[in-house]
Symmetry: D2
Subunit: 412 residues, 4 copies
């Protein structure tokens, strides 16, 4: 009875941390923003029907699926939102696109460049049919970072010389914190590099509008074994669960220098061992006419230095990015009433809904996600080759007809 031509019916795969953030976003976006299509929380998909059902009830999902393939086959779904670990992205995303569903996919796009290339190729094919894909580098939607991009685009920084990025967390400092799937290379792909380094690589390229062309890096694992978490330890049956340790197969920290195609020099660090830093996702950009600095621990603040001012009145400005004229803000509260972490997800929904309704490619595209993946891969390659500089390839993906079929066989 409802006019589904004005709806965007969503099927979401995954219901944990990211799943909750996405659920809240789908529901909240139309309450605060005028959207051309109204998102409808049609189906939530998770292997554990009961657990998925609880989350569905909490956020108002209309139905539950336990198999993502069944979800994709439903003809009352317009968009598949993928909130599962990176190792599953390629299969779900490619299948969804081939089924004519729009796709929103959490970052990192995939666990390998090959997977990311396959996804980007599928997205390019689908886009030609008006079916769009987007990868979830949500920090772009923080108003302060979105405004940073705008200032660069307006030329307020002039020629950019430096990009310094850090993503500092500290949740692994304790050597006895448990071994989770995020520390297993087969599931997570990489450690700090892919999980949080990916965010600052994307942010750096987004804010500057420039691309990283080469990198030189090091990866480091400070604690190479950790206690196997409860469930697994129990399987061992020893009873002395706390004594059992498993290997950490990903990096605890990554550091690299980078060159950009606009001549800028980048310095990046991503770590889960920065004691006292909880979520310090930081970027500072220095240009000939100005500079910007951002730290997600103060997510409503952007520091801006205007070098065209006389020296005596120049200084980094603490801009409280809550004015109605700042990106996304007019939908929310009066000036000074800050937003929080999950607002970025709501803005992401707003942007993809508007792009789809307009028949335009939303950003960041899978090609953008692939570009990040290539940077991460080059950092890994450099780390394995004595930190020697590695070029980051920038060739377009080619649509490979046979690839998807080959993949099918691998599906679990």
């Amino acid at each position: 009875m409802s006019d589904t031509s004005r709806e965007l019916r969503v099927g979401q795969v995954g219901y944990a941390f990211m799943g909750a953030a996405h659920s809240q976003a789908w529901r909240t976006a139309p309450s605060f923003f005028d959207l051309p299509l109204k998102p409808r929380l049609t189906a939530l998909c998770g292997r554990d029907e009961s657990a998925a059902g609880v989350v569905a009830e909490r956020f108002g999902w209309e139905s539950v699926e336990t198999d993502w393939r069944a979800l994709i086959e439903r003809d009352d779904i317009d968009l598949i939102d993928i909130c599962t670990p990176g190792s599953t992205h390629v299969e779900i995303a490619v299948a969804a696109l081939r089924a004519g569903k729009h796709v929103m996919c959490e970052k990192p796009l995939a666990n390998t460049v090959e997977e990311a290339e396959e996804m980007a190729a599928a997205a390019a094919e689908a886009a030609a049919e008006g079916v769009f894909a987007m990868v979830g580098f949500t920090y772009r939607r923080t108003p302060a970072l979105s405004y940073a991009r705008q200032l660069v685009r307006e030329g307020r920084l002039g020629t950019i010389h430096h990009v310094r990025c850090q993503y500092l967390q500290d949740w692994l400092v304790d050597p006895d914190s448990p071994l989770t799937w995020r520390l297993d290379k087969s599931l997570a792909g990489s450690g700090a590099l892919g999980d949080i380094g990916a965010h600052v690589v994307d942010a750096a390229q987004f804010v500057t509008g420039a691309s990283i062309t080469s990198v030189s890096g090091v990866l480091q694992t400070f604690v190479d074994s950790r206690p196997v978490a409860g469930e697994h330890a129990t399987l061992g049956g020893s009873g002395s669960a706390s004594a059992e340790r498993g290997p950490v197969t990903v990096d605890d920290a990554a550091a690299f220098t980078a060159r950009f195609d606009n001549g800028a020099l980048g310095v990046f660090e991503a770590t889960r061992f920065a004691t006292g830093r909880k979520n310090a996702m930081r970027i500072e950009v220095s240009g000939s006419d100005g500079a910007l600095a951002f730290d997600f621990e103060e997510m409503n603040i952007l520091r801006f230095y205007d070098a065209t001012e006389p020296a005596e009145t120049a200084g980094f400005r603490r801009i409280v990015v809550t004015e109605a004229s700042h990106p996304y803000v007019d939908a929310w509260w009066p000036a000074g009433h800050g937003l929080g972490y999950e607002h970025g997800f709501t803005h992401q929904v707003v942007d993809i809904v508007r792009a789809i309704a307009a028949g335009e490619q939303p950003t960041p595209s899978f090609a953008d996600g692939l570009a990040v993946q290539r940077v991460l891969a080059a950092v890994e390659a450099s780390s394995e080759d004595d930190s020697r500089q590695q070029k980051v390839p920038h060739d377009a993906v080619t649509v490979r007809a046979g690839a998807p079929a080959a993949r099918e066989g691998e599906a679990s």
Copy 2:
């Protein structure tokens, strides 16, 4: 068919700025918190049916009412949430309580002490019947301030000597910003004092657990006339709308010193003329063993100084109040992923729902709201009496049987 005994059916009066914040809170609270009663967005009430309908549709309110009396009469409503201007609070709240509805009422509790006393009396009567009222000093629910309260309660500050509070905004600096209802004493009661000063008075008493016993203050209006806003100007028919100015009848700024019943000395300032400060709601408490400092412009941060440390390692700690062990936080995101302004409203819903389910008085009660009102009134009295110190009365309200009837006649 649904088990309404496990629901809390809400009727909300008002749908503007505060109305949106409350709507989002009612809907969001059960998605992130385990609640003993599930809030149901039963009815939204506003004089303009069409406008209220739009908001109802956006947030999922099941029905719309245009007369708050009709809303109160509905037997499928358990709680009335009042988001209208202060001049209307007393009438709606008292009627709702007498009709056996729980009440959540936006701050300030009322525009006068007399009204507030009437409301507190009605709340006391209702509480005896298990019907509860709460006033919306939402900042208490900011995790950082809630944790500040906890630290004081745990004795980490020792004997408190100083309370310094500021609530700084700047939206009236432009002398040509329009004359709104907030600048009209008959509707708003007072200016900066009641609108934002009320928040820091409540926060000061909440965090310290102490009561203000006397004040000495000044009120100031820097710009005493402002352009009449579009609609009204048009009514004047002159065509030269911008030339027409009306009188500002409230304070632009308030400043006062205060004494607390624990011997502490307070300094308060509330203003809409603090250029560059957007929503700097600040409180610093200095005690014999420690100190706390908070600024809402960095709402996820609490500064804490532990004076029992050796001098050389002591320093104000920048606590990022996003740990699972901090108040309210475990329902949300991992450490370092900050919350925003509206989360306080969600927490407020959580607290009132839990209190009602437990049959306990939620806080801040109407008596707490009255206490704030008495402080504000004493500041006004002092300002009118050459800043002479005014005692703040603390006598309990008496239940006055006749009062409500008298008020009925005034209803519009």
Copy 3:
């Protein structure tokens, strides 16, 4: 043999904390600044010849005196620098001026308004003869505050609405910290009010260029007795020195509101009980076109908000006041190489030397010091009169011929 016409021969009274700061300043100023007269450290005066001799040797004072009267009588002295407690200022300063010596006098100018008036009168008389007096509100010479004054003077703040000042220290929080002369009203005049409150009163009037016309205040003593310090306790001979406590006769904290002659509203707080704040001398000024904020704990930084900027790029600028174009800075180090506390004393020497050489009145004059004294006295009077507003008199001092003679008899 040296050309004393190009020298300014200094005799300094006092050699403790302030004495060291002044000694270093007299010696350092000509090394970094081009001065029309070269200060010569001719004589250091202190009652304890041996102790004074040690300090004289350390800083290069050429001789030592033990009686300030003898110092004043020396004809090889051009300027008397008074670094003794406030109770002694009037006698020394008036005598020096009458003897034709220029005078630099530490703040506060005196312990009472009457003494300050006598000093201002003496200074006015002397100025007519080309003999000048200055009071040491050294914070004016912090480059950041000097630059703040310049920005206000250039109109960058527009009409000033708010002045909020704090001077927060915490060295008395421990109730067992000893009873010093600073806690004895007969020697110190007042407590936090006169010692540190005086600084922010002067800074407020200096930066804004406006005068305080009335105040309403409270004084508070949190700990009314303290252990008598070693020496005195020993005199008691009891042996249980720690048990002996004496009365604190001054305020631990002062808070007051103020009105300025330009219509601005001021809020002031001075305390020695602000746990964790070591020397937080703060001033924030809000105007129609901009705002300034300063905290001495970051003495090389000035925050400036330019409200004429578009809202989206406006923000408090963190100006590092170390550019060559900032006041005093070009004599020192490259940008970013900050100055320290004692540089203000060096700048003070620079300013008085240049004024004397030019035959001009240096600032702040004794009249400026008297103006501060009158504000402090009004705060005390208000505190004693239930915080009622007190007018601050601004009448010029009259030269009272008989007064000095009367005072002579009191000299000890």
Copy 4:
């Protein structure tokens, strides 16, 4: 007549920026600190006798020399203080040490590793005779950094995982700022790397007590030609001075990753193109039990995070490093009265004087300076080899008897 056995008679070479800082330090140290030997400003040496004479007069140097060889030959000199450009250090320092004079030498120790090795060898020889040498990494003497070292040494950080250092300046951002000697490789050795990168390399090794074992780096010159400064341009005689540009032969910026012998991972950046950063010499150290952060733009502040605290009360503490119990501070002012840039030089004098009097090796020694030089050289080598990791050699210098003779012939 004076007891020269209690003096340390200083001959200083160089009188510009560093010369003034050192002069002030020699004079000031004995005024505030109890020193076993009193520094005597015996002779200042500079090629331009007149200019040197002016500075000598300003700071109280007793005599002037124009040839450093003559200075070294004087038998009334105990210590040679070298404040000249890096290219001259080796010759002067080695000659002075061989002449039995103690040496204080500005950083960087030399322009090449070979020179530094020669100097370290000469210092080792001299030390055997009780003649000592020290290199001027003054930032070690900033109380906050000295205290940081102390906290690490006390184990407050536990095992160190990360060292992140930045030295950010912006004085070369303008492409038309003039070509100075600092941009000429033959005189300056390197650019940002050696000038300011050297400081953070030393600070990192000093604070952590660990050594860098390998590096991978990039150097970058953003502006490769600049206007020849006035004097030189005039020599060209063209009249269109501003059009003449000369080549920049050093790096504008350097970035590198580093491994330490304690397993820590380092990230370093030094640049003169960090718009808006004036002298942001920053170091953050993350350990298993705590973390430290410092920025010279707030030189009196040290941030310290104690990870042994419960998560909910832990936070970076803003320690105002001005307590009497902090290094060097008790000689100065009360808590909260900050120090400035040049105090580090005064503390350096204090430390070398005390070490010499005690017959002990002062630190940082020439061997420490050599260690820094080797890191810088490895960064350069890595930059030239595609950023490949370079090992930093740590072998002791050998005393090479013939070397000095060989050098003699090169002397100008």
